[in-house]
């Protein structure tokens, strides 16, 4: 029985279909709950880890098929270009504030994570794993790997940054008295990547447009900052 389980899960089809199935459950629960706190990615990861632990399936077996999904990160990053290009009219209008805002935001994010990690006594590996946590996963995961981080920890950090933005953004806008929709939209995309953008779209058209631009632009700035850091 054990041997049967090991050889079946060694097929790429196991990782491929288990990921799809777990994500499907995550999406369903997310829809039902209607709250960003019930994050589909987090649910899927929790289910898959539980499955591997309970059945004693090696992580390496899962990754034979799981690697297929990871490979698609490159084309998924490429299509961020379509988001920026779609918003080119509004982007041209606010070009200077958008560029300066994303650059400052990307720099503050990196410096802040670095300083706080030192303050809380996190080691080097954990620190570099957290550094790219505000940009979209498609950019953050390869960055984390390049710097010698653990991309699983990065994924976890990304979810925290994203979910907190999606949940608390309306409060932050009130606390900090952000009156300009251009500012709140761009800030949400810069701080909380795609999950922040989902919330920004709910807040309004301008917020959503700038937030989706911020993902690619702040991501690009973060790549440059971390490459020469």
């Amino acid at each position: 029985m054990r041997e049967f389980l090991l050889s079946v899960t060694a097929s790429p089809l196991f990782g491929l279909s288990a990921t799809l199935f777990a994500y499907g459950i995550g999406l369903k629960l997310h829809k039902k709950a209607g709250s960003p706190l019930v994050n589909p990615l987090l649910i899927a990861d929790f289910l898959l880890i539980a499955l591997l632990l309970v059945l004693g399936i090696p992580y390496e077996n899962y990754m034979i098929g799981g690697a297929f999904w990871e490979m698609l990160l490159v084309p998924a990053t490429a299509i961020l270009a379509t988001k920026i290009y779609t918003q080119r009219t509004i982007l041209k209008r606010y070009l200077v504030p958008v560029l300066i805002g994303s650059a400052v935001g990307a720099l503050v994010a990196v410096v802040c994570v670095w300083g706080l990690s030192k303050l809380f006594g996190l080691d080097e590996t954990l620190t570099v794993s957290l550094l790219p946590k505000s940009v979209t996963a498609a950019i953050a995961l390869p960055l984390s790997e390049q710097m010698g981080g653990i991309n699983s920890i990065t994924t976890f950090a990304l979810v925290i940054a994203g979910v907190s933005g999606a949940v608390f953004a309306p409060y932050w806008i009130r606390w900090f008295r952000i009156t300009n929709p251009v500012a709140s939209g761009l800030a949400l995309g810069t701080a909380s990547h795609i999950l922040g953008t989902t919330k920004a779209i709910e807040l309004g058209e301008v917020e959503g447009a700038l937030s989706s631009c911020a993902i690619g632009i702040a991501g690009l700035f973060t790549v440059f900052i971390l490459t020469f850091f």
């Binding site: 990782g15 799809l20 994500y23 990615l41 898959l48 880890i49 591997l52 632990l53 992580y59 899962y62 799981g66 999904w69 990871e70 490159v74 084309p75 998924a76 990053t77 490429a78 299509i79 961020l80 270009a81 379509t82 988001k83 920026i84 290009y85 200077v96 805002g101 994303s102 935001g105 503050v108 994010a109 802040c112 706080l116 990690s117 809380f120 957290l130 946590k133 505000s134 996963a137 498609a138 950019i139 995961l141 699983s152 994924t155 976890f156 990304l158 979810v159 925290i160 907190s164 933005g165 953004a169 932050w172 806008i173 952000i178 500012a183 800030a187 701080a191 909380s192 790549v223 490459t227």
Partner: protein, 125 residues
């Protein structure tokens, strides 16, 4: 373009991105190279958004599935996560709020400066 052509185009673009990122003398994510390439292609007008519509719609809608395997990798770091859970959580939460505020204030400030500059220019004219 039909789905077959879209997939072919997107995988060739990705492969080109991988090739270029190997040529760059410092580590640079292949996906980001592709993002810049595709943006330039859109700007030249040779490639239109509609050419890749179905594939890009699908990938952006379900993008989170691509990050699941990395998250499953946490299975190898459960002890590390358990021992550093609170600091990791705090670093992420605090830095996200500060990043949000810093970005929003910068944008508002720059827009204010621009308006002042424009007003100054108009009153001189």
């Amino acid at each position: 373009m039909n789905i077959f052509k879209q997939l072919t185009a997107l995988s060739l673009l990705s492969l080109a991105g991988v090739a270029i990122s190997h040529l760059i003398p410092f580590p640079f994510p292949a996906g980001v190279v592709c993002m810049i390439l595709l943006f330039l292609l859109f700007c030249t007008g040779k490639v239109k958004l509609s050419h890749l519509q179905e594939t890009t719609d699908f990938l952006s809608r379900y993008m989170a599935i691509l990050f699941i395997p990395a998250g499953v990798g946490l299975i190898r770091y459960l002890d590390l996560l358990k021992s550093s859970f609170i600091p990791i959580l705090l670093v992420c939460l605090i830095s996200t709020v500060i990043t949000f505020a810093a970005t929003a204030y910068t944008v508002q400030f720059v827009i204010l400066l621009q308006e002042k500059y424009r007003k100054g220019r108009d009153s001189r004219a």
